[in-house]
Symmetry: C2
Subunit: 661 residues, 2 copies
């Protein structure tokens, strides 16, 4: 164990283990998580070569092997609870992804939810025994977030009682679905349904794409891998071009909508259920943000405690880089953010579970708010985490750029969350739509409930924000409740500003739609402020649940840092709205420096509490024992370029070059 | 040609070709650049496979082949002017790097500048004929920016008249030098010189590391590749462990310092010359920032003009995504930044050339200012570009994540500039040191000249910034000269604030050094404001040189957008300092929206003017003809995973899995 990191742990003012229970949701959960972890990490069947040393094809190969292995192990251990499966999968994957992810996350759940009884009887056994390995083919080369724009067609032919599927243009080729390129032999294809000369919009069809025994693509199917990406190199995201592919009528998923044998179309009763799945997945992503950011902070903070560089006082030994104020200013606000997002993730999961009971009982009343919240928080947390990972990486100097640090992997595997399951700007605008609607309802005298209820108070605000010094400010910058209030008012003012911008545009003879587009910068800003308020509020609320005094104290410091840091980085908003005055903003900067010093002795303990196993982090910089350099050397020596002393290029190019000069 | 992109070009209000001349520095320069480009792009010897389809070893192999090829071609065409070589190399490299880069950039120049006459006679012919292929080994595993901390030792043994080189610890292993792992047979090693029992600090030694004919590592040399990285996978960044390696006394570079045969150490006369090289390289990096950002903008803006998605007005066809205000708000400020940095790059190059004449004449008077400016601007431009590339990538939706977009490559090859040649935070603090020193001189009554001369006016400012509404503001937000003034005053106030923070800390009984560290957040902020001012000023100055009315008009709009966008993102600073009042900040937001609309018709023409050849961009999204989808499909089909219809993993894992369930 590195002596620096031992000393860091001795300096901690709280019990790390107890904080881990808080993060996991209780002692029992921590225990079970560790049991599952040790099943994976002590299992020789999951030992592997660092994917960074492999070619793309080898990486894919290793990922398929691990997925197959995992399926067997889950059965063997009898792990069936979805949360435990999720935990097991996370351990197996490490910093990478799984080749068969979409079979579990989309193919099976869609069969469960959209098959009629007869279809269930046929397809579920095939899918559960992996005779049918499937994916979900929605996105096309030319169409993503906007589903109505999808071009793939499924035309019903009553003569043969078949659907004929086609990709009528290049831009209609299915593009991106995970596991589509090489792994799957079936795909659930989203296509515009045509029957009896009419288009009935998007419907889902089970399309066999490869022969179930030879795995060779079927006639009319042009399928393959879409090529290397920034990350996700374990996954064969694929393309699928359909050329007059015929499937039986029964392959349309018919739980809701139907096509009768003669071609008569039968409408679905309601569409609200699919709504719930999106909310669920976006809520999960909030948790993923917390995980990615806490991993990155663990690596950067542990490394900063063992790395010595430059000098603060001449003649003295080089200090730990964690002693530099600039390093603390990079990392501690992100550490606070990782904690904030962990608690927000917990809240979203609990709320979803609470509400999904209501949904099953047919009560959708809370869904719109949760839908809006999950969209905005998905965008807010992934954007913050995305840039935060890179700050952590660059705070490690050159070594952060080495794949041995794991930070490049964490980044490239995380960054797609900003785009998938709803592009972030679109998500922010969805939340804004809910906020503006709520604002108008409040203005019309309706009493709002839930998180947006603060818009009830909006009537008191002025359109034109007041001069900064004019408003009396009673904010105590050391009091979290007071800061929550300030964030709330900022959100209220920015929602009002966006709504007024739309109004202004309409007064300038713009259509409703153009007015919306011409106000979208303000709308995104309003959503962002709303989400920021929610995060500060949930972090503060969480403190009320913490009984342990030492833990309560350190988490309060983190929450305060989170809130005050958000104020300095957005100080213009708070000044413009007259919520803080100039001396207060200056005090905030001074206070932040004090908080950094205050957190310094607990920094390593705070990342230890995330309890990321060394095998999960897979980072030479982030090792629990702090023995960075020897393991970096050992890792480098395993680099494939070191397999031979002399690379063949010397004989091929360098030696001949000399004779030509 | 895609019809959308044709229409975009028809809408332009200026002559694209003429703007290209402005960016290149004149018609003649554009002509010559294109000549060199066509030499490379029409040369079948440089045709290559997309490196993204290759394994690491194949990538390295291809890079060595191209480097060897390039050396022959440069001789063949008689290209010897350093700027033309730089241009040629840039074309050959594309979005990647060169295996033998350090031989040209560091090994040869160091031999030229630090060999005594006898050494020159021996080493230059060897290096120029590539008998000796070399690199520059400075950074160690445990030591980067802080050179005095390097641990490698070179101990003189008068008995044999040799130096004995050692890596005494693991952290002293040389780590990161490009070309060290496999390519080079020599390295210039920086080591602590010991002779007659005394340490004389860092000196440079020529160390043979591989046998010149067999390329096998020499005794006592442990050398290899440091393993895969985020990017730079063409380059064999290497490690070097020295175990009692003996080299003759004559292998110490002796132009300045010397060791006599008996071990007597002779001091160098002055160290100021090496100072100049750093300034030069950092100035070059400013130009690299402009290039990387302009490439990214070219890709994102062209793609946004052919990509259609969602709807603004219901029932109408999907609009070009460039019509969304949020998309314009992401991309146009970055476009303006790319122009700003191009002109700053020009200025830095010109200034360096102007001053280096003085330096050769022994006049170092302007060097400290240029040194401080190049450090800060290197950090300012690389940080901005680094996050800007990612904004461009994510603005392309999912396809930005594909390697076919080239944006991942541009990012990973660019991001090390934030760390190498001086870590950015350290750079910002170097600039801050100059600013605080200048501020103190000004306060002491000394009249400053050059860019920092605005600190002469600092006396008028107050320590405590005034309440926002109190100061009379006469800023015209549409007048660039007025905005330059506002940026200047912001910089002055933030420099003063940082200086006062140091003073305050010292009054609280902190040592000078701790006071500095405890003020470093403020110091970085001051440097940032200073650089921001310089960029706004240089962009504005440049407009004065533009004669063409149409070009002057569009560049003025860009400059205004750059300046106003910087105000909104830092509005707290301007409000806090009382430089703008609340209604003005609100007006700035409104004005920015107008500027976005105003730039919209010229967006594609403005990126066309950067004149990045399709082969240089190597991006399916950024193609000049806008034919994105067909080429994406074609590219994907060449992916190595598509070489076989059925991947072997099916037979190895998936099929067997079924029988086990």
């Amino acid at each position: 164990m590195n002596p620096d990191i031992i000393k860091e742990r001795q300096n901690a003012t709280f019990d790390v283990e107890k904080l881990t229970y808080v993060l996991d949701g209780g002692l029992e959960k921590t225990k079970r998580r560790r049991e599952i972890e040790s099943m994976v990490f002590s299992d020789p069947d999951f030992e592997e070569e660092d994917p960074n040393f492999l070619s793309r094809s080898e990486r894919y190969d290793q990922a398929v092997r691990k997925s197959a292995q995992m399926i067997l192990k889950l059965r063997e251990y009898g792990i069936a609870d979805p949360e435990e499966i999720y935990c097991y999968k996370t351990m197996v994957q490490g910093n990478h992804h799984e080749a068969m992810g979409l079979h579990f996350v989309m193919f099976l759940p869609t069969l469960y939810s959209q098959c009629d009884p007869q279809q269930s009887k046929k397809w579920l056994p095939l899918a559960k025994s992996f005779q049918a390995v499937g994916t979900y083919a929605q996105t096309e080369m030319g169409h993503g977030t906007h589903l109505r724009g999808l071009e793939t067609t499924a035309t019903y032919d009553p003569a043969t009682q078949e659907f004929v599927l086609n990709s009528p243009t290049i831009s209609s080729i299915k593009w991106w679905p995970g596991g589509l390129g090489k792994t799957s032999n079936h795909a659930i294809v989203l296509a515009q349904l045509y029957t009896q000369g009419n288009c009935h919009g998007l419907h889902a069809f089970i399309v066999p794409i490869r022969d179930m025994s030879t795995h060779v693509p079927l006639p009319g199917i042009v399928v393959g891998d879409i090529g290397p990406k920034f990350g996700f190199n374990e996954v064969d995201n694929g393309f699928l071009k359909l050329e007059n592919v015929r499937i039986p009528r029964e392959n349309m998923l018919m739980k809701y909508a139907k096509v009768e044998p003669d071609g008569t179309y039968v409408k679905p009763p309601s569409a609200k259920l699919t709504y719930g799945t999106m909310v669920f997945i976006r809520s999960l992503i909030v948790g993923e943000s917390a995980r990615a950011l806490s991993k990155s902070c663990t690596i950067a903070i542990r490394y900063s405690s063992v790395r010595h560089q430059s000098e603060i006082r001449p003649g003295e030994p080089e200090p730990q880089i964690l002693d530099y104020q600039t390093q603390q200013y990079k990392l501690f606000p992100l550490l606070a953010t990782a904690y904030a997002f962990s608690f927000v993730g917990q809240y979203m999961k609990e709320t979803y579970h609470r509400i999904s009971g209501d949904i099953n009982d047919g009560d959708f009343s809370e869904l719109p708010e949760l839908h809006a919240l999950s969209a905005g928080l998905k965008a807010f947390t992934t954007w913050t985490t995305n840039s935060g990972i890179e700050v952590c990486r660059m705070s490690c100097g050159g070594h952060g750029y080495s794949r041995s640090s794991a930070l490049p992997d964490i980044y490239v595997e995380f960054t797609p969350t900003c785009t998938y399951e709803g592009e972030n700007t679109v998500m922010m605008l969805q939340t804004a739509r809910h906020l503006v609607k709520s604002y108008r309802q409040a203005k019309a005298g309706q009493q709002l409930s839930g998180i947006v209820s603060y818009l009830n108070e909006a009537k008191q605000h002025r359109v034109q924000p007041q001069p900064v010094a004019a408003r009396p400010t009673v904010v105590d910058i050391n009091d979290l409740a007071s800061l929550v209030e300030v964030y709330k008012q900022r959100a209220a003012i920015l929602v009002e500003l966006a709504a007024k911008s739309i109004q202004q545009e309409i007064q300038n003879r713009k259509s409703q739609e153009d007015a919306w587009n011409n106000s979208s910068i303000d709308l995104v800003r309003a959503s962002d402020a709303h989400c920021h308020y929610v995060v500060v509020k949930l972090f503060t609320d969480k403190l009320g649940e913490i009984g342990d005094i030492a833990i309560h104290s350190v988490l309060s410091t983190l929450a305060l840092l989170y809130a005050l840091h958000g104020i300095t980085t957005n100080s213009g908003d708070f000044l413009q709205a007259g919520l803080l005055n100039v001396p207060q903003v200056h005090q905030v900067s001074v206070r932040i420096k004090e908080l950094l010093s205050q957190l310094r002795p607990n920094a390593v303990a705070l990342v230890d509490a995330f309890d990321h196993h060394d095998k999960k982090l897979n980072s030479v910089l982030g090792r629990y024992d702090g023995n960075v350099y020897e393991h970096m050397f050992e890792w480098a020596r395993r680099s494939p370029l070191n397999a031979t002393e002399v690379h063949e290029s010397f004989h091929k190019y360098l030696k001949p070059l000399r004779s030509k000069l």
